[in-house]
């Protein structure tokens, strides 16, 4: 892999660059494979392809790339694009039968969500060998006669992986930050006779800081500290951390020092909820949350979010009415 590849991989982790990072589907030779060489199946996301070809260096295998619209194996398998039909299609298009004189195709284990081994075998005569979860284990999988121990078969979610995934959580959250800022400035700046920018900044700025901290608390700190935060629910984990960070920020700075009690209550209702929301979004990046579980969380979380937003709105209105001397 060149430096350009590595730079592109970094971009895949932080931006939507990854949505258009593909290789052309088909059969690739890594090194000098022959008719006895193994066939390893992967997705046409270039990042996935690069990891696979790096892991296979020196083994001289064939790599069969499926058309997954540039999506990695697991996500594409969930959607079905990395699936039985596409694998059968590529085996036929590439005339794999003429290329190799054996009947083995090695499919990454996480592709099993989309690839049905017995159906591929019925349709093509090729037998699907489910390889290890991680590309780095393919070599030892092949060398031990296509056997994978449970360590190669189970997926972990260590801190490094959780950190790697956070930029793509923080990035979309920050994209919505200008809208949040606008609302905050409008609320604090609005006066009966127009918008007062001095007020908007004086009270608004601390709220922007709290908002930023809440986003980081939900989209970064919660994923990183995941197993250390009590409770299993992501919404609850995010809320706890949001409460803690809001408290720390308010206590250790002069933010909201001279302000109204209404604003204190508002801050403690809104920001932990805001953090909780971003933490709940992280369920989509994890390797262990189930649909039934997330649905159960949402059944409780969404009404709580709506209630918190309503309470926040009421408190903001009361604060303004109070400020304008109406109350």
């Amino acid at each position: 892999m060149t430096r350009t590849d590595k730079w592109e991989h970094l971009k895949c982790r932080v931006s939507s660059f990854r949505n258009n990072y593909t290789v052309i589907p088909g059969l690739y030779a890594i090194g000098n494979p022959d008719a006895d060489s193994d066939v390893i199946v992967t997705a046409n996301y270039k990042y996935s392809f690069d990891i696979v070809r790096t892991a296979l260096k020196g083994l001289n295998p064939w790599v069969l790339v499926l058309d997954t619209k540039g999506i990695n194996v697991w996500c594409a398998a969930g959607k079905g694009t990395f699936g039985t039909e596409e694998l059968v299609k590529q085996i036929n298009i590439t005339s794999l039968k003429q290329v190799v004189n054996h009947k083995r195709v090695i499919v990454p284990q996480l592709g099993a969500v989309g690839v049905s081994g017995y159906k591929v075998s019925k349709a093509t005569g090729f037998n699907v060998y489910f390889g290890p979860v991680r590309a780095e284990d393919i070599r030892s999988f092949i060398e031990t006669g296509y056997k994978a121990g449970s360590d190669m078969r189970t997926i972990q979610f260590p801190i490094v992986e959780r950190i790697i995934l956070t930029p793509m959580e923080i990035n979309p959250a920050l994209k919505k930050f200008p809208l949040f800022a606008l609302i905050v400035f409008l609320i604090f700046g609005l006066q009966p006779n127009g918008i007062l920018f001095k007020d908007a900044f004086q009270v608004g700025l601390p709220f922007l800081v709290l908002g930023l901290v809440a986003i980081l608390s939900g989209a970064f700190m919660t994923p990183v500290l995941l197993p250390l935060i009590p409770f299993r629910s992501f919404a609850v984990k995010g809320w706890i951390l949001g409460m803690a960070t809001t408290f720390v920020v308010i206590q250790t700075t002069t933010i909201l020092e001279d302000e109204n009690t209404l604003l204190f209550v508002l801050a403690y209702i809104f920001f932990p909820m805001f953090s909780s929301y971003w933490a709940l979004q992280f369920t989509g990046s994890t390797t262990y949350t189930s649909m039934a579980g997330v649905k159960k969380e949402m059944k409780i979380a969404i009404p709580v979010y709506i209630g918190s937003l309503a309470a926040t709105a009421i408190l903001a209105i009361l604060y303004k009415l109070n400020q304008w001397g109406v109350l």
Binding site: G70, I71, G78, V113, Y118, S150, T154, T283, Y288, A292
Partner: protein, 98 residues
């Protein structure tokens, strides 16, 4: 790490199992194991409902309400209908999820 308890929809119909062991092989969370030439569920709470076992059981012995454990996907399906999925793929307008 373990997610919420007692929610996963995975079911094993033991009478249909022929003991091939493929489900044990494809499960990424060690939910299944072989016991006396039959598959058994040893830790249902680890199940993330990916559907790999069901998809690879030619005897129909495994049933699971397969889906993605992703809040954004579930929210989208509640708003726009359809099954929750990582459907943002290949759609340049929606770059927010998986």
């Amino acid at each position: 790490m373990k997610y919420l308890l007692e929610v996963a929809t995975l079911e094993l119909i033991s009478e249909r199992c022929k003991g091939c062991g493929t489900c044990v092989e494809v499960c990424p969370h060690g939910v299944l194991a072989m016991d006396n030439k039959k598959a058994i569920i040893i830790d249902r709470d680890m199940c993330m409902e990916c559907g790999a076992c069901m998809n690879n059981c030619s005897f129909g012995a495994l049933q699971v309400n397969k889906g993605v454990g992703c809040a954004a996907a579930i929210m989208n399906s509640m708003i726009y209908g359809g099954q929750p999925s990582c459907d943002c793929s290949g759609d340049s307008k929606n770059t927010n999820c998986c």
